[in-house]
């Protein structure tokens, strides 16, 4: 078996997304963020960890474009670097969530019957616990390192992927080509992988892109609460938590990470919406049903 069926028609997708105005704006924002994140270690003007006691809470100037925070660190440098760790965690966690979520969802749709009912009841019950408490439950036991966040978020966000993959696969399980494969005596794994997966791949890819932005928000929220990216690694959520106490004296320390995070998520949403429109997929929201 080759792996051609995994590959998405990327040039075609790019053309479709860029054909729409909102898609162009979204892609531009996302690409800018990616470029900054990749180049940040080279282009940051100052050491993000360097604490200058003589330059605390300075307003924006030529030497500190976005001012300094309460420890005299350069806010511009920290903002440039602040998305890297969260993006890395989100990317790894998205792969885990999509992998186990779609595998289980497609298999369960194919098997059906009692197995399907029992598995979905468990997924349902786990989704009844708000994601943040489910994640906190694991973090309390495992500690909050980036290495622990990846599997924990990958598991938690995979739950909704099971739903989506199952719903997408259910449209195909009764089709002739699946029945034919069953009649040929193919195993369930091979039917799921070669008959069902290629048909649900595009819609799952859109969901994956969306999940990425929700997981990114989750990482930032956890960092804000002090359970995500740990200092000294700069992170937007952590910077916002840090600058809250000084928002009257140094609003710049608060506003730059807020703008950075919000613009990335909004850009991602615009791009994915444009992509979802051309593929005819209904994208998921952060809140089920909404």
């Amino acid at each position: 078996m080759n792996t051609v069926w995994l590959a998405l028609p990327l040039p075609q997708i790019l053309r479709d997304v860029l054909a729409q105005r909102s898609g162009r704006i979204g892609m531009a924002i996302v690409c800018l963020h990616l470029a900054v994140a990749l180049a940040a270690p080279v282009i940051t003007p100052q050491d993000s960890a360097y604490q200058d006691a003589s330059a605390m809470l300075q307003s924006p100037s030529f030497s500190h474009w976005f001012g300094t925070d309460r420890l005299g660190r350069d806010v511009f440098s920290r903002t440039l670097l602040g998305g890297r760790e969260a993006m890395l965690i989100a990317t790894a966690a998205t792969f885990i969530a999509m992998a186990w979520g779609s595998a289980l969802g497609i298999l369960v749709a194919l098997i059906g019957g009692r197995t399907d009912a029992i598995v979905m009841r468990f997924i349902d019950a786990m989704m009844s616990i708000p994601w943040i408490l489910l994640v906190m439950l694991f973090i309390a036991a495992l500690g909050s390192s980036s290495a622990a966040l990846v599997p924990v978020l990958g598991f938690s966000y995979g739950l909704s992927v099971v739903y989506l993959a199952r719903a997408a696969a259910l449209d195909f399980v009764a089709r002739d080509f699946v029945l034919a494969a069953q009649a040929r005596g193919h195993s369930r794994w091979s039917i799921a992988a070669t008959e069902l997966f290629p048909n649900v791949r595009d819609s799952l890819a859109v969901q994956g892109a969306m999940q990425w932005s929700w997981i990114l928000l989750a990482v930032s929220s956890l960092s804000f609460l002090g359970m995500g990216v740990a200092p000294p690694t700069p992170d937007w959520g952590q910077m916002i938590a840090d600058a809250r106490g000084i928002m009257q004296r140094a609003p710049w320390a608060l506003i730059s990470p807020m703008l950075a995070l919000s613009s990335l998520v909004i850009g991602m949403n615009l791009a994915v919406d444009a992509w979802a429109r051309v593929t005819g997929v209904e994208r998921t929201r952060r809140v089920p049903g909404a």
């Binding site: 009841r121 468990f122 349902d124 019950a125 786990m126 989704m127 009844s128 616990i129 708000p130 994601w131 943040i132 408490l133 489910l134 906190m136 439950l137 694991f138 973090i139 309390a140 036991a141 495992l142 909050s144 928000l217 930032s220 929220s221 804000f224 609460l225 002090g226 359970m227 959520g237 916002i240 938590a241 809250r244 928002m247 009257q248 609003p251 608060l254 807020m258 995070l261 919000s262 998520v265 909004i266 949403n269 929201r285 952060r286 809140v287 089920p288 049903g289 909404a290």
Partner: protein
């Protein structure tokens, strides 16, 4: 009708049982237990053993599960590691505070969302809809801790209308808490209303294009009457189950918003419990949130069933 009712209640019960199982065994699968997590790496073997004996962690898992679940049903939530007090006592007041905050949010947010959603849906793509929908999309996309911080920046720092951070204790009288809830509730309403109004808007647009509204219009029924008697009942009914589902977000959002505003509720307690590495307390709170979610959804389901006869027949 009765079978459908019983089925919904039965499903909710099964879901709650599975939540209890999942919350217990999820931690069983992890390395370490409540004692080793709480005492940290520096703990000596004898300290660990004493702690494990005190909590009964030396018993087999299945036996402990039975005892834990049984205690939970009788209202005994166990002992908080850090605070060394019964969890029920630690949780009680804060649960009240969170319910005040969530209640205020729902009481203002839901009617507001329904109203705005209908306004936006009646004139889709008009200037009013563009404004409402634009703000709603912003509210849905930007994370809760940023909306909350922006609220503080705007209403507390710039306008000076309300205190930015709650300073009262968790045992404060309900009325004081209600006053302290203004900004946290405003943040939650901002986001909750956005989610609900988008659904209502879509629902109104769909009903406006339906055959029976077209028919009523052709019969010459006055516009007002069409809206009030044909469109609204049909558009708002589906909103009930959506409101139930958005509770999942509300409960999760509460954790973050309470932390932003230092509000003495269950959500902030959960965050503190994680920082204190107090596993039994985190478990109890996760369980409570899960139960509240299942029960609100059941309530929304039953309400939808009573109001909408079409849902009462069993569909396959």
């Amino acid at each position: 009708m009765a079978t459908v009712l019983l089925e919904r209640i039965g499903l909710a019960l099964i879901t709650m049982i599975i939540i209890v199982v999942v919350v217990f065994f999820a931690l069983e699968l992890m390395p370490g237990d409540a004692c080793s997590v709480n005492l940290g790496r520096g703990a000596s073997d004898s300290m660990l053993a004493a702690c494990q004996k005190r909590l009964g962690l030396d018993q087999p898992a299945v036996w402990r599960f039975a005892a834990w679940a049984g205690d939970f049903l009788t209202g005994d939530l166990g002992i908080s590691m850090q605070r060394d007090r019964p969890i029920a006592e630690v949780v009680g007041w804060r649960l009240r505070n969170t319910l005040i905050l969530a209640g205020l949010t729902a009481a203002i947010g839901i009617p507001l969302a329904l109203g705005l959603g209908v306004l936006a849906g009646l004139n889709p793509d008009g200037p009013l809809d563009m404004t409402i929908s634009g703000i709603a999309i912003f509210a849905m996309t930007v994370p809760e801790f940023i909306s909350g911080t922006l609220m503080i920046l705007l209403f507390s720092v710039i306008l000076g209308w309300a205190a930015g951070v709650v300073t009262i204790g968790y045992k404060a009288p309900a009325l004081d808490l209600l006053k302290a809830s203004v900004l946290p509730a405003a943040t939650l309403i901002f986001i909750l209303a956005a989610h609900i109004l988008r659904m209502v808007r879509a629902s109104v647009i769909e009903v406006m294009q339906s055959d029976f509204v077209q028919m009523a219009r052709l019969k010459g029924v006055p516009h007002r009457r069409i809206i009030l008697h044909h469109v609204l009942p049909n558009a708002l009914l589906p909103a009930i189950s959506i409101i139930g589902l958005t509770m999942a977000w509300l409960l999760g959002g509460v954790v973050i918003v309470e932390s932003v505003f230092n509000f003495p509720g269950l959500g902030r307690l959960a965050v503190d419990a994680v920082a204190d590495q107090d596993l039994p307390l985190v478990q109890a709170i996760a369980l409570l949130f899960g139960f509240i979610y299942v029960l609100t959804n059941l309530g929304a389901d039953l309400l939808a069933l009573t109001l909408n006869p079409r849902l009462r027949t069993r569909r396959k």
